[in-house]
Subunit: 306 residues, 2 copies
């Protein structure tokens, strides 16, 4: 197996994870989670979303969270900005509280795009064009989250050509890197590789990250499949936070703990301290009143208990 020697993980738990959790979580706890993640060695953290609190009440404290985190040098802090209003809110604070990167998004499925944001894929990208331009003019990086790249709850299987189409649109408006997301966790290795290959026609491998949900238990095997194509950036959530409101029974993002356990076991460096990461997952899980949704975390904590 020829695989990358190191992997960079983006913990998306504070945003993508918590956004899909029903219980309200205080800004203090969110800030505590970000601090624990950076202390554990995470170099990229998706912190919050500058979205209308009407749509996502869980993220209403976005400015408070961005203000409250004590940044660690070398760590990239990203936020989701669904439109120009969100972007403006994200940079309304003093410059040192700006995000290092904003995240825009689009679906590889027309049906998902229509149901989720009421417009076509092409329209959604057009609307993001001025946001991308404004961010880059201010020296803020732009990442594009591409959802439903393997399967869609409405359309079923998604053809790789649709992923390529979305990647091309993203590239066209100046998005610098993209996430290939299996939003509902239905993917398996060959399908994930096909989605990655369609994206590789438009972006360098260094600019592509994998984002897999573990609904059908396939997230790690899909990660390995992507690693085999040279992809070395992946997104995950500590404690497997989250879910998907559009797919009943969907579990959250793959647990960062499980990914780190696999990578370290394969001799692939992440710079992450797994024990500290497990503690971060326990911290947020206790705040949510439940167990971390991570097998590696459970096994290691059981072993710790003796």
């Amino acid at each position: 197996m020829k695989l990358p020697a190191q992997v960079k993980l983006v913990d998306v738990g504070p945003r993508d994870g918590l956004q899909n959790e029903k219980q309200p979580v205080s800004a203090e706890v969110k800030i505590g989670l970000v601090h624990r993640l950076q202390d554990a060695g995470l170099k990229e953290i998706e912190v919050t979303s500058f979205v209308s609190p009407k749509w996502v009440p869980q993220m209403a404290d976005n400015a408070e969270v961005m203000h409250g985190i004590q940044r660690k040098p070398g760590v990239l802090y990203s936020v989701l900005t669904p439109n120009m209003k969100g972007f403006e809110a994200a940079i309304a604070a003093p410059r040192e509280e700006w995000p290092d990167e904003i995240v825009v998004f689009g679906a590889a499925s027309e049906a998902f795009s229509q149901k989720n944001i009421n417009c076509s894929i092409a329209e959604s990208i057009e609307r993001f064009a001025p946001v991308v331009e404004a961010a880059r003019a201010k020296g803020i990086a732009v990442r594009g989250a591409m959802s439903c790249t393997v399967g869609c709850p409405y359309e079923g299987e998604i053809a790789p050509a649709k992923v390529g189409y979305l990647a091309q649109l993203m590239k066209g408006i100046g998005v610098q890197r993209v996430d290939v997301a299996d939003t509902i966790g239905v993917g398996t290795p060959r399908k994930v590789q096909a989605a990655m290959e369609a994206t590789l026609a438009h972006f360098e491998v260094d600019a592509i990250s994998g984002h897999f949900h573990d609904t059908y238990g396939q997230a790690l095997v899909n990660t390995l499949a992507a690693l085999e194509l040279g992809v070395w950036n992946f997104q995950s959530s500590s404690a497997g936070l989250g879910g998907c409101p559009y797919a009943k029974g969907a579990t959250g993002n793959v647990a960062t703990e499980d990914v780190v356990y696999m990578l370290h076991g394969m001799g692939i460096e992440t710079g992450i301290d797994l024990d500290k990461l497990i503690d971060a997952g326990v911290y947020i899980s206790e705040a949510l009143g439940r167990e971390p949704n991570s097998r590696a975390s459970k096994a290691i904590r059981t072993k710790r208990a003796g």
Copy 2:
């Protein structure tokens, strides 16, 4: 990815799975499980163990179960026989109730061998020699289960050379095929491949099966790693039955449902009807009073419920 076009799964739930479940399960339910598995398309089923009821009370009904199952042509029924007494018990019934294959076992870890069966690896294999001989003389096939081939709860990581040593001893006494088992589920892809490669020095790839526990969530990714070496026989338990009494918090065998979901998603044939398999897992889980330990089962049942 060059992978086998088809895979044969051995469902070891009725034996390896249930043996590690504390609640007693009636012979009727065990027989019902075997029938549901064969109806779902399983071509190999590990049915029971002819072990002393003093050690494993859950398997005390071994003869009753073997008597009760209505065999389906083309299906291989295996049983564990820990010694000559067990083998004799397994063939005490009329010939049509004999197992098609017996399973003998050994550990790749000296410490595990000592703690588990009170003798060295070499001694354990010596003791099995007459059992293997007797079985083959009667035309019964012999499989060797090699435990702790990646890690051991007492010794930690296991060197591939120790796996090769055990495989060679197994070969020497006439064992026809072997399982490379990650008994405590600590393995990751490269370590699993190293254990497989050490075994490939002594057995053809067609005579090797992978057996992965999902304790750290690594079972599917280890399955893919083995598939990449051409291994196409795997063991699993419907509903992820089982555990490991020697590793606290260890989960059971990887769920057959999750393996089948992955394989079918990759276009690899198994001959298994996933919906029927899910129903078999629900059947045994209801008997145990719990939910199936399978993400694919949960996701598909949630989707069914609409």
